[in-house]
Subunit: 140 residues, 4 copies
Amino acid sequence: MKKEIKILHFTVEAKSAVPVYEQVKQGVKLAVISGYLEQGDQVMSIRELAARLKIHPNTIAKVYYQLEVEGFIFSKPGTGYFVKVDHRKIQKEKQELFKKVTRDYVSKAMDLGYSLADMIAELQSMDSENMAGKTKKREK
Amino acid sequence: MKKEIKILHFTVEAKSAVPVYEQVKQGVKLAVISGYLEQGDQVMSIRELAARLKIHPNTIAKVYYQLEVEGFIFSKPGTGYFVKVDHRKIQKEKQELFKKVTRDYVSKAMDLGYSLADMIAELQSMDSENMAGKTKKREK
Amino acid sequence: MKKEIKILHFTVEAKSAVPVYEQVKQGVKLAVISGYLEQGDQVMSIRELAARLKIHPNTIAKVYYQLEVEGFIFSKPGTGYFVKVDHRKIQKEKQELFKKVTRDYVSKAMDLGYSLADMIAELQSMDSENMAGKTKKREK
Amino acid sequence: MKKEIKILHFTVEAKSAVPVYEQVKQGVKLAVISGYLEQGDQVMSIRELAARLKIHPNTIAKVYYQLEVEGFIFSKPGTGYFVKVDHRKIQKEKQELFKKVTRDYVSKAMDLGYSLADMIAELQSMDSENMAGKTKKREK
DNA sequence: GTGGTCTAGACCACC
DNA sequence: GTGGTCTAGACCACC
C-alpha cells in the first residue's frame, strides 16, 4: 500500500491583519494537534503547500522551520518534513486551545446576553438531537 | 442631566476579505442586539464614528442607511440617528447569532476531539469559578 | 552622554561551507558571551550590519530572529534589537565554547605529535613572558 | 610484505577563500610533519588523490611540484612521489605550527575571559581523565 | 530611521 | 523530486 501524503485543507486570508505565515502555522499545528496528521506522516512539501495556498514557498519554509523548532515536525533534508508526535506536548496544546475557544465562545455569548446556564442548556439540547440520530459521531 | 452618546468600541480590519462596511454594520448591529445601545439612544454621528474607525464617512453613511432600512435605527434629519428597538426582531437576531456562535464553537471543539459532554463540563467549571468571587457579573 | 552602538568586528567568509548566517550568528553570540555586548546594549541594526558585512539584510534578520528565540537578544519593533543577558545561560555557553576550543587545540597539537604536557609547558612559558611586561592584561 | 600506500584523510573546502591547491598543500605537508607519512613512503598518486578529493589532477600536480621544490617530497619519474624527511626542516615547521595553533587557542580563550591559568588547568584536567582509562592513547 | 512580512527567484546538496 | 541558503527588493507599521 502506497504511502499517501495527507492534504491540508485550511485556507489563508491574504488580507488579514494576522500574518499569512501565522495562519499557515496554526493550520498545520491544528492538523497535528487534532490527530489528522499522525506520528511519522509526511507533511505536504513546501512547494506543494505553497502552490495550494497560492503563497510563496519561502513563507511555508518559514512556517515549517518554526514548527520544527517548536517540535511538531522534523525535516529530512532532500526528503521532506515529517510529523513528530509528543503526546505530552500535544495534549497540553490541545487543552489550551480548547480553553481558548471556550473562552472566546463564552465571551461572545455573554455579549449577546446569554448566561453560562443558557450555553449549557443549548449544548445539552444539541446533545439530545444527536442522541436521536447519529448517536456516536465522535468515534472515528 | 446631559444626554451621553455611547461610544462604539468595535474595531475594523482594513485588510480583511469581509468588506469594511459589513464589519461596521455587524458592529453597530451587535451593539443594538446586545442591549448596549437602548431604545432612543442617539448613535454616534457619522463623522465621529468615521474618525474613530479611520475610515471614510461615506462608508458609515452607507451602513446607517442600511440599518435604517432593516429597522434597527432611524434618522431625525438634522439631529442624528437613534436606536429603534423592536424586541421581536432583536430577539430573533439574537437567537440566531447565539445558535451560530454555538455551532461554531461545537465544531471547533469537536475537531480537537472534545465531546459535548466535555464542553458542558468546561462551562460548568467556569460557572463554579465565577460563583466564588464576583458572582453576578452580568447584571450591569 | 550619547548612547553609542558598539560595532561588531567579525568578518564573514562568503564561500565557506558553513552558511553565512551561521557565521554571523556565532559572531554576534560571541560578542554577547564574551561580554563585549552588555545587558541592554542596542545591537547594530539589521541594515547596518548587513551593509558592513556586505550581505543581504534578510540574512541578518534571520540571524537576529534565531538569536531572539535562543534568548540572547530581543527586539523592540521600530526601535532595534537589544542584548538580553542571562548570566546562567551565558556562563554555560561560555564554558562549552571554552571546552570546544580547548578540544580543538588539543586535537591539532596532538596531530603534530605534542603531548598535553608539551601544551601545558608552552602555555606556562607564555605566562612567564607576560609576567615580564604587561602582567595583568585581562582586567579591562 | 606488500608496500602499502597510506591514504591521506584531509578534505578540501571548495567554497573557501583559501585556494584549493593551498588546502591540499597544507594537508600533505601536515601528513609529513606529523609523521603520518615517513621517510621513503610513496605518496598517493596524483590521479588517486585527485579522485578522492574530487578535484582536477592538475591541481594535485601543482601541489606536488611545489612540495618537491620545498623539499618535502621527491619524484621518481615513472614511479611516483616519495617522502623526503629532513628532520631539521620538519622540526622547525612543526614548532612553528605548534606555536601558531597555541597562539590561536590562547587568543580565543582570552576573548572568552579565560586566563592562561584556566587553560592550563583545563589541559591538566584532560590529562587526568586520560590517566584513568586509556592511559597511553597516543603511542600508535 | 527601525524591525516584520512577503514575494520572486537563484543555486546548492541530497535523493 | 526534496529542503536549505541567499540575494533582491517591495510594502507595512511604528518612531
